[in-house]
Amino acid sequence: MNSVIFNDFVIRFANVNGTGSASANDMFSKAVFRMGIPVSAKNIFPSNIQGLPTWFELRVNEHGYLGRREGIDIMVAVNPQSLKEDIESVRAGGYFIYDNTKNLHPEFHKEDIHFIGVPMMQLCMDHFSEPRQQQLFKNMVYIGALIELLNIEPEVVHDIIRHQFRKNEKLVPPNFLALDLGRNYVKEHYECPLPLRLERRDKVGDQIMIDGNTATGLGALYGGASVVAWYPITPSTSVAKAFETYAKRYRKDPDTGKLSYAIVQAEDELAAIGMVIGAAWNGARAFTATSGPGVSLMSEFLGLAYYAEIPAVLVNVQRGGPSTGMPTRTQQADILSSAYASHGDTKHVLLFPSTPAECFEMAADALDLADHLQTPVIVMTDLDLGMNFHLSPPLKWDDKRKYKRGKVYSAAELDSMQKYGRYLDVDDDGICYRTIPGTHPTKGAFTTRGTSRDEYARYTEDAAMYARSIDRLAKKWKTAAGLVPKPEVYQKKNQSSTGLICFGTSQYAAMEALELLEKQGVKIDSLRVRAFPFNDTVADFIESHEQVFVVEQNRDKQFRSLLVNELEVHPKKLIPVLNYDGMPITADSILNQILEKTNGTALTA
């Protein structure tokens, strides 16, 4: 028999979508979390509503490695459609927990894994009468079984159930019953707990378990967005939804019931970004959230906002492309299309959060930055970060924080000046002063336009004037590089000659890979980029290393292109480490690619 392993495994639930399994699975992850053990979840769902296979994968790891890991240790298989592939995906020595109400077909048997049959359906049929109940409680039966098999503290699960049904308490006892059915069955038939098991720890600290989209929506709420325009698209829909949910709660005047925000479901993405631009032009903080196809549709408008210098915040929750692509899978493949969205010489500020806490922070920062820079700011998250539950530092807000509204002249300021020019570079940083419609009866009005104009916002076709205006935008871009969030550098004193650059959700696996490598005696410094344009630290990091691995989740090395284009570094120095099959990148894959691309040598330097 195996020796006992605590708090380190990957468990996958194979369900059918639309059968209520999601809430049972969430309960399971919450239980692990409440036992003080780090855990992260990945929902692998189809682009359909009901009846197709869906998987919920949990990585439990007391060392806090929470990126995806290849190989399933425990499979809870409740979906007959996917039985075959579910069995195959279990690692040798792993456990396959299934509903043995019907016998497993002998052809499915496999020598190297443990089969644990639990007659989930049968137990439910024996104890519940309604078909819908039988269906739902099946999920609780396997949770019960897992309590015993994995050594979950039953009280933790009971608490969760009690909280969940606090408004409908009569549902608590049948849920407890279903749990017990599972618990009792496995206790009777198997040796519990398994050698792969949980044990209470104190490793999650003050962290929370939250999906990135909720954090993003909250960040925009805290950041002062008052106009939201959006169009539904997976995986971004829940950003607007989260904003609305919390805004309904915290932005409603308790006396009048009036709302201090407006949210519009636009007719499409072109309209959504148009509304954001209109609102921001008119002095409100506004944002929209979308995904790849939406960004493509928004690109004309993004160019307008860049050139006419209007703040706009866009959250791009990236999914698998190109085209409609893999709408329920993750990628970081809109880097180029976001950075250079629109024709002509156009560039956009990008922010790259890695954790829900950063989603929150950056959504708020984006609103400040857009106002300050008077340009679109795109928050680049992805399906993995946006829709999955992640362990995250708690969301933080300093009540002393003021919104940075940027350079806006008030009526008084206008009164005190000779002549106002919308595009005069008064401060020599490329950022000019705008005025908000309605500010002053006779001063400060101008016409915003997407065409070439002079410093007083008058239409011009003068070549020199035009060149001056886009040179100023280039200057503003330099200013932006100094304002955007700085990268995080992970570098010990004695520096390595090899570096690694990552961003966004790739960091989970990248950090694990680096620690694994360090255990093998290979030391690599690393840097996590948090924004584009890149500030000097990024250039210095590349400069000071002989070779730099660039980890990203797309085929075309898009982020590496950005680094090369903007920092003028030799592409050969930047070694791509890629993953683009739609599943989150794993530490193993990073590690292997690094070893392979260096023939396993050259790293120990």
Binding site: V227, Y261, L270, M275, A284, A286, K396, G450
Partner: protein
């Protein structure tokens, strides 16, 4: 190239109640073709704004792209303007309106800008009953790109190159009514007498006020055979009514004629006095309006005037339940739930 008119004010020019002369409502010198209908509409807007004592900075003018969409530069120099992108004026206006409910929003568009590339956004602005004045300067062609037929060109209309339009022309008024617009009028750039009061009434209407203004393109679509030429339009328009707009603070002293007259109180207390010319038509009665339009279509007439009015309309901000204060004026205090609440929220995720 942009010509700015010298802002020279004759001291004796009459001032309106808010202290402005008519010249204060003008803009830069037009760069449109001499005789372009759009310039006359510009003049009508200037006139209307002067007459309703608008404070110019209380209005925002937003347009798409086209000769028509350039006109906001030629009126109301003290209003902020936004010459956005082709066909997308409605969404920009929606956003602007949501940000600040206290301004008047005047959207200017062309038939190309609205009926082709902008159709989707137009339909949805109507559907939301967005509180704005939406003027289409309708010349049946794409002026700025040199005269191609637009989607409002009538079947059989002949363009400058002799091409005969094969497709059905979209009747924007009729479409707006179908979609539930609450204020729909049609006029002619050459008929200032009718147009000015229509614009004034549209500005007082607290919902989507649509004006389809026939505005001949002298350069590309004023030829014989075109159904959007000055001659053709002059010959085929049929006024449905004569219109007076009585601002809410004016006392009603005029003695209205009985029988053929309709007195419609607008939301802000202003009054619309309609002297009806079209038989069997009541601008507040949807079915009769639709019937009027269908009949005119068959007879080849172009009904003008205030075609439809629904006074039971609610401002979109009311529908959405937003606070009285403009959203763009809210501060941290109103917008940010604060660290205390965030602690609760964090706890709910543990």
């Amino acid at each position: 190239m942009s010509f700015i008119k010298p802002n020279f004010r004759h001291p004796a020019l009459p001032k309106n109640q808010v202290g402005y002369t008519k010249a204060d409502y003008e803009g830069a010198i037009s760069t449109l073709c001499a005789g372009c209908g759009h310039d006359s509409i510009t003049a009508a807007i200037v006139q209307a704004c002067f007459e309703i004592d608008l404070e110019p900075h209380k209005l925002a003018k937003i347009s798409g792209i086209g000769c028509s969409s350039k006109t906001p530069a030629y009126f109301l120099r003290n209003s902020h303007g936004f010459n956005s992108v082709h066909g997308r004026m409605p969404s920009v206006t929606t956003g602007a309106y949501l940000a600040n409910r206290d301004l008047i929003y005047l959207g200017v568009s062309g038939d190309g800008d609205t009926a082709s590339i902008g159709m989707g956004q137009f339909v949805h602005a109507v559907r939301r009953n967005l509180n704005m004045v939406y003027i289409v300067m309708n010349n049946g062609c794409y002026g700025l790109t040199k005269g191609q037929d637009s989607a409002t060109a009538d079947t059989g209309s002949i363009n400058k190159e002799g091409g005969v339009n094969q497709f059905a022309g979209i009747d924007l008024c009729s479409l707006a009514i179908e979609l539930g617009a609450t204020f729909v009028g049609r006029s002619f750039s050459g008929d200032k007498h009718q147009l000015v009061p229509l614009i004034k009434a549209a500005m007082a209407h607290p919902g989507f006020a649509f004006l389809d203004v026939l505005s001949p393109c002298v350069t590309f679509n004023n030829n014989k055979g075109s159904t959007k030429s000055y001659d053709y339009v002059r010959e085929h328009i049929e006024a449905t009514s004569e219109l007076d707009f009585v601002p809410h603070r004016d006392e009603i002293t005029i003695n209205y004629q009985e029988g053929k007259s309709v007195l419609a109180p607008l939301h802000d207390g202003s009054l619309l006095h309609l002297h009806k010319l079209a038989p069997g038509w009541d601008p507040t009665e949807r079915k009769s309006v639709i019937s009027l339009i269908q009949t005119s279509r068959t007879n080849g007439e172009i009904p003008t005037g205030l075609l439809y009015l629904d006074t039971h309309t609610r401002d979109l901000h009311e529908v959405m339940g937003t606070v009285k204060e403009p959203l763009n004026a809210l501060t941290e205090k109103e917008l940010c739930p604060g660290a205390g609440v965030l602690k609760e929220i964090n706890d709910s995720f543990r």
